[in-house]
Symmetry: C2
């Protein structure tokens, strides 16, 4: 740090140059975040200094957090749900698994998850010192329920299902997993960080939430398809008992106890979530999801036209395309054509997320470039 500071105009000249290096998302097909809604941004601004870590000072923002929890509890068919906002899926998943672990006396606790679970579960295994057991996938890249059941033993402290997998956008058979949870008296966490703001707005119905008896917690992220601002995750627990074993005493604050993992928490992101949910309503989110599913359909059709097939028929706005040399095609798409795409782990497919920031015109451009990139690989033009 220099002794004397920059002037305001010097500083903002620099910031403008730096900003140019960041993506504007127009050619990003790899991300599950997107532009926050302008209403979310405006609300974030209004409440930017609000701190949910000391919520007694901010009873207004605190009220908005409770409203968000209530609205999402309704959306997830819950009653008497307790929860709080987090920084996103990873923190929500840490907290859900911490709650499971804390209910148990096992000295070698394990949690069974599908192989398609987000990489953060590997992080969580380390943080919480629990074993993560990964059940294999079926042909449709849902978790194989027999494999899942076979991994449950006396040290299993909980189960995880994914509703909207990061790689395939697939929904696990949560109904079956819920049956296993009830049968074995185990808590079941549903990671719907991405799917939570998609599945309820799809034309087809899926059972994945508190309507299933076994589901005890759900993670869903407003800062993904909820169009909120970063950092905004939500963690919902079916009952207070799951939350209360995360309690820490908080002397010298306006509150007596705290259940969140982090201390200081962004009230701006709370206000943004509250605002965008109230502004869009269910109808607004249906429009957003309709648009993304329309893009998804166009992508799949366009891919078939150039001889590329999706790994599975897309359930939501995540598409995995079977392409030989997917890693190389990805590289060419980025370096030669400027598209950011990603790759699934197994099998290695091209992974594309059809987010609201993508225009139909850009999708068409992408399909043209995809065809060229595949040809580049075929003809060895990449070298």
């Amino acid at each position: 740090m220099k002794n004397s500071g920059l002037t305001e105009s010097q500083l903002f000249d620099i910031l403008k140059e730096i900003k140019k290096k960041d993506t504007n998302y127009s050619r990003v097909l790899s991300a599950m975040c997107t532009h926050p809604h302008r209403i979310a941004v405006e609300a974030h601004m209004m409440f930017i200094e609000s701190n949910m870590g000391d919520s007694g000072l901010f009873p207004g923002t605190n009220e908005m957090e409770h409203c968000v929890i209530d609205m999402l509890s309704d959306l997830m068919h819950g009653q008497g749900v307790h929860g709080h906002m987090t920084t996103g899926g990873t923190e929500s998943n840490i907290q859900a698994l911490r709650s499971m672990r804390n209910f148990s006396e096992s000295s070698r606790p394990n949690v069974v998850v599908p192989e398609s679970a987000h990489f953060s579960f590997d992080k969580i295994a380390d943080v919480l010192r629990i074993e993560i057991r990964k059940a294999s996938m079926d042909q449709e890249f849902k978790v194989d329920i027999e494999s899942f059941e076979s991994l449950i033993d006396e040290n299993t402290v909980g189960l995880v299902g994914v509703a909207g997998s990061t790689e395939f956008g697939q929904i696990d058979p949560i109904e079956d997993i819920s049956g296993l949870a009830v049968e074995n008296s185990l808590p079941l966490h549903v990671d719907a960080a991405f799917g939570g703001f998609v599945i309820p707005f799809l034309k087809k119905d899926y059972s994945f939430d508190f309507s299933l008896d076994g589901v005890t917690s759900i993670a869903l992220d407003p800062h993904k398809m909820g169009l909120g601002t970063i950092p905004a995750g939500v963690l919902l627990f079916r009952g207070e008992e799951y939350l209360s074993n995360l309690q820490t005493d908080t002397p010298y604050l306006t509150t007596q106890t705290q259940h969140s993992l982090t201390g200081t928490r962004s009230g701006g992101a709370v206000a943004a979530t509250y605002a965008v949910m109230n502004y869009l309503g269910k109808d607004g989110y249906i429009e957003v999801v309709d648009y993304c599913m329309d893009l998804t359909e166009k992508l799949v059709e366009g891919s078939y036209r150039i001889g590329i097939e999706p790994l599975i028929e897309p359930v939501m706005n995540v598409v995995a395309l079977r392409i030989p040399d997917a890693d190389l095609v990805r590289k060419i798409l980025r370096e030669k054509y400027g598209w950011m795409v990603s790759i699934t782990r197994d099998p290695r497919c091209l992974r594309l997320v059809m987010m609201p920031h993508l225009t139909i015109a850009n999708l068409e451009l992408f399909l043209q470039d995809l065809e060229k990139a595949v040809k580049d690989v075929d003809t060895g033009m990449d070298s």
Copy 2:
């Protein structure tokens, strides 16, 4: 969530009403957060959609994060420091202790901390399943080094010192603790979440950072006295080896690995920190700290005038006042006079943080009300 959304003007009418319920900080003497600097807010806005969890998409913001780490590394007299921004002190402390624990093979790891350590260490004990051993305080509410040493055993995986304790604003004898760390080959984490943006700008010098051989990590929070936006913490490690045992693989992102606890991370808060540090420079922070120390001096003088003594001569802008019936005085100050103050755990003193949002005029009003509140208690007027 309703089916149809509110109009923009309906929504913002509601938000304006909600906002009135939140504090504007003018009568808050209990918080370690404050108004972020307007420059920080503006920069946050510019980069609000930036996500450090997928930093390959945001190379500009990523560059700013590296700059912040470098500037703070310099300020903390470090060389070859590695680190990242976090959501604040709690997350930084979790990560520092997780790194210590991961270095060790102990099946019953413990970490020695001063009794004055932030309550988040109790949370961390639960999250990481480590024992937190609390060393007692000396007369000046620094940790007692003999007590500290006596708690170290073969299962100790690391030590913690506090530079700017939440309750007393005291600085532990970090030099002595550093000696113990070197002697026992243990990592030493310094929690300077509050003090990190105060101590370097005080008139008096204190040794508490990487200039001491034993110090291996430091937490300091831009969103406290750094005048950044929430959520902004910083975690610095003396060398890469401390960070690398926090590594998780990140398939399907633009990066290969991740060291942070959270996934999606606010690029807005990174930009805000970068901006305010470059705008203020050291001279600017010296002005801020000068002002807060001036308030602190005035508070102590004013307290003496009404017969109230500080528990210790304040080291930084945190004051603990010895008052009989402190809890009752706190209640009266809040309910009758509208001041938010807090209480230390042991002994129960009135705890006051002199943040930049407090005006001298308001401090004088507070002192008048404090005198009245104490009299209210003496004369039983509170009942």
